[in-house]
């Protein structure tokens, strides 16, 4: 049985705000692409602002928001992925090693997409446009990997990670890292 006293705040208000603002902005930026240029551009800038704030927060933010909390060495990350195959992986209160790298890869891919988009207006139109489209497709692929990972981990550990990202709380377990 899960007791209320075992509930802890894992994701601070900004982390949650960042996550769901990004989800919404990502939806808008896709739907407005090649249709509503102004909305697409402004939303793109908004995503870049979000990424900038998240990177800063990753350095100075609350415990589980910091990169230092969830970036594990490649060896430990591989070890975690091996544990997944054994079906008895370590439970992490914050991001698990795979999820942590997913955060960084998504941020970098979105940053690259945004920057290539800004550069479309600065000349070499065609080159940047092609790159922008390619990177945008890459981010969509990464989003699918991310969502799949979240659903997989939720089922594996019998916890609703989507709700946790909304409410900010998770139930602590004895052997948690």
């Amino acid at each position: 049985m899960q007791l209320d006293r075992d509930k802890v705040l894992v994701w601070d208000p900004f982390v949650r705000m960042f996550h769901w603002s990004l989800v919404l902005a990502y939806l808008v930026v896709w739907l407005s692409a090649e249709e509503w240029e102004w909305l697409h551009d402004q939303t793109g800038y908004f995503i870049l602002v979000l990424i900038g704030l998240r990177v800063l927060w990753g350095l100075i933010g609350s415990r589980h928001a910091r990169f230092g909390d969830f970036l594990y060495s490649p060896g430990r990350t591989l070890n975690y992925l091996k544990q997944l195959r054994s079906n008895r992986p370590q439970h992490y209160l914050g991001h698990n090693p795979a999820g942590g790298w997913m955060v960084v890869i998504l941020l970098l891919a979105l940053l690259a997409t945004g920057v290539s988009g800004v550069l479309i207006g600065a000349g070499e139109h065609e080159f940047w446009e092609d790159l922008h489209e390619g990177l945008a497709n890459l981010t969509l692929f990464l989003v699918f990997v991310h969502v799949t990972g979240v659903l997989f981990s939720s089922l594996l550990h019998h916890e609703n990670l989507i709700r946790a990202m909304w409410t900010g709380t998770k139930v602590r377990r004895d052997a948690d890292v």
Binding site: D12, F14, V15, M17, S21, L53, L56, G61, S62, G123
Partner: protein, 110 residues
């Protein structure tokens, strides 16, 4: 940093997200209302750029179907960006200086 200060800072960052959204989506709102279409309209009527119909009279464009035509500003020039479908069903992109009507570059077939 103490836990309460971190929480306070977290709300400050939330405020920064909201503030940037207001600036980006409402601050630029007035410009958006007089969007691309009006600007194209104005440019055309000022006699600065040639109409698309005139551009389509160029020999290499006759008989091509326009999938998409965009008016863009690039390096201080106004350019037409055309996405065309030729008789063989191939898609081309072509760029023209919107003032002189001269072709700028030609991309390969997609």
């Amino acid at each position: 940093m103490s836990e309460s200060r971190v929480t306070g800072l977290s709300w400050l960052f939330v405020a920064l997200v909201l503030g940037s959204a207001v600036v980006l989506f409402l601050g630029g709102g007035a410009a958006a209302l007089s969007g691309d279409h009006d600007e194209a309209h104005e440019l055309r009527h000022a006699g600065n750029i040639i109409p698309l119909s005139e551009l389509m009279g160029r020999p290499e464009l006759v008989g091509q179907r326009v999938l998409e035509a965009e008016l863009e500003r690039e390096d201080g020039h106004v350019i037409y960006e055309l996405e065309l479908l030729d008789d063989a069903g191939r898609v081309h992109e072509r760029y023209y200086d919107a003032v002189t009507g001269q072709p700028l570059r030609r991309s390969g077939e997609d």
